[in-house]
Symmetry: C2
Subunit: 348 residues, 2 copies
């Protein structure tokens, strides 16, 4: 996921700032008002508010109308109560029961932490779930526990495999988090598509053309028009055949291994208004203290220093953390139009 707000960028004139807690409360009201349980509302509201707080606009409040439309379609069960199965000493399986993935993850998290501590590595496999959010909020907390975490989510078919003609893979993101001794955790969240789907939507909304190599139109021909990619076209994987292989891996880990649907196993036509496919998520968490790398956070800090010395201008996650600090100090930035939209959704 690419952050949108450049540090130092001038703020638009219609920007308002509200405390992150107030934003969470407002968003939770919207989720509950539109059909989720109070538990799911609190979890999803925190996720969306935190994305907005961190300048991750494509997964911030921009997503709320789509969440509401999805819930209104009846396709996702906002009241789902996830079923957690302790499948093996290192393996937890969760049936999200057609609810969102985040409440399913939360329901299993205490058991997952217990297993990581006792086993050294553990896996959480969620199926029958909808993941419509940024992925880094799923891994960052584990790094704050001192663990290393890696997660994979598949999504709706919108990416043409390398050398192919028709969309098959989802944007299939991978997120990773690791603790470091001298600063915020090292966290990245990257779509295996050339761009994240939310960023294509934002570019289309803003009427911006994209650089070459991001996607194809409905004929399968290369295009720089984000709207053409959305109107029957598709995205390309990042990095050619390598990104395509990683996207295939995400299908296998997040869908085949969890028991979730593949990204291509779904037709939107059957669910007007729905915008999230029912797929799966795999999360692997490792306790580095169990091996010979017991000083992991210090080693990670040495790597960060070496990246600085090699001239790397920015660490993964840097923009998010900078934006987060600003938001915690000044309040979370929203456009007046977005705040009006949220207020309407909370009442409507």
């Amino acid at each position: 996921m690419q952050d949108q707000i450049m540090p130092g960028q001038k703020e638009p004139a219609d920007t308002v700032r509200i405390p992150v807690e107030a934003l969470r409360t407002l968003l939770a009201r919207i989720f509950e008002r539109h059909g989720t349980s109070a538990e799911a509302a609190a979890i999803l509201a925190r996720n969306v508010a935190d994305a907005q707080r961190d300048g991750a606009d494509s997964h911030g409040v921009f997503r709320m109308p789509a969440y509401v439309s999805t819930l209104a379609s009846g396709w996702v069960d906002g009241q789902a109560v996830p079923v957690v199965t302790d499948a093996a000493p290192g393996f937890i399986s969760v049936d999200a029961c057609n609810g969102f993935a985040q409440p399913a993850h939360q329901a299993a998290q205490p058991l997952l932490l217990e297993k990581v501590r006792s086993q050294g590595i553990a896996l959480l496999a969620i199926h029958d779930s909808h993941h419509f959010a940024a992925l880094w909020p799923d891994v960052e907390p584990y790094a704050r526990h001192g663990f290393v975490a890696l997660t994979f989510v598949n999504s709706m078919a919108c990416v043409v495999p390398h050398g192919g003609k028709h969309p098959l893979f989802g944007t299939n993101p991978i997120a990773f988090a690791a603790p470091r001794a001298g600063g915020e955790p090292l966290v990245f969240d990257l779509a295996t598509s050339a761009m994240a789907h939310g960023d294509i939507q934002i570019a289309a909304r803003e009427g911006r053309q994209l650089p070459p190599g991001q996607g194809v139109d409905s004929e399968g021909s290369p295009t720089c028009d984000p709207q053409a990619m959305l109107d029957g076209g598709a995205l390309l994987p990042f990095g050619g055949h390598k990104g395509s292989a990683l996207s295939m891996m995400v299908e296998l880990l997040a869908a085949a291994l969890t028991g979730g649907n593949f990204s291509f196993g779904f037709s939107w036509a059957d669910h007007p208004g729905a915008q999230t496919p029912r797929t799966g998520q795999l999360l692997i968490v490792i306790d580095p203290a169990r091996g010979a790398g017991a000083n992991f956070a210090q080693r990670a800090e040495a790597l960060v220093q070496a990246m600085h010395d090699a001239g790397q201008p920015r660490l993964p996650g840097d923009r998010r953390y900078r934006q987060r600090r600003e938001s915690l100090e000044l309040g979370v930035a929203l456009s007046e139009a977005d705040l009006a939209m949220l207020t309407k959704l909370a009442e409507g």
Copy 2:
């Protein structure tokens, strides 16, 4: 790792073919003659012979003079006896004691298989090791056991981080294997650099120019000359900032988490003739039968069918398997010059 031999490509006139078993025996004699234990010789010879068999030239017999030079330098201990520690129910730590990674992996493999079966997921963390080989042979066997495997190796600093000026990361490959019901396992092995180091060496040897975006010269300026990349220059990560983030992850998993050296933690100047850094390797193996994805191999087969239907011309590993079938039928292809070189190394 990119396969070199195109199917249907005309064989050079000086090609000889020898049975894979005979090649393994010849290579084992070379390893033992140049300082490895009989156990290590058998394991490494199988690895190199199998790479040659599968058309993976950059890790085939081409590598033998470098193995010999490395052993002669005294930098790698060919007689090392790996020490396996059962660190936690899901966590094995192996001290390769400055030997090659493959014998360390083999020493821990029975315990790893036992842990995967009982825990559902297990991890092997090797440190103080030298990995100078293709990575797919490390994961393919697990897929034949019905497991899903993922491995990460860091290597010598030769890749400039995205936006940086100086080499820091290794080519840092990731390999993945998964079983499928209707054919050979799905296996990929990809350098997180734009090209594998062995492929740069082959291009330099053949005097071929490379496409743009693969590397920089000693000034940090973009170049298409593979020799300039080798002479004080460096490679670039594949896929821009995303490949760079994955390469950073490989450093954290394969070095910081295992207790191995980072790719930048080594100066060749201190070890004339040596060509492999002392680093680490992480291997994660999962039993898909423990979750809701118990029909994993059938699901993987459905994904393969969908990739065909989407027009994907070739699966990861296809070229290797095709070349393997040909080699098993006709013998492994070698140039007369390479065979003469091997014969000399076996005697010399």
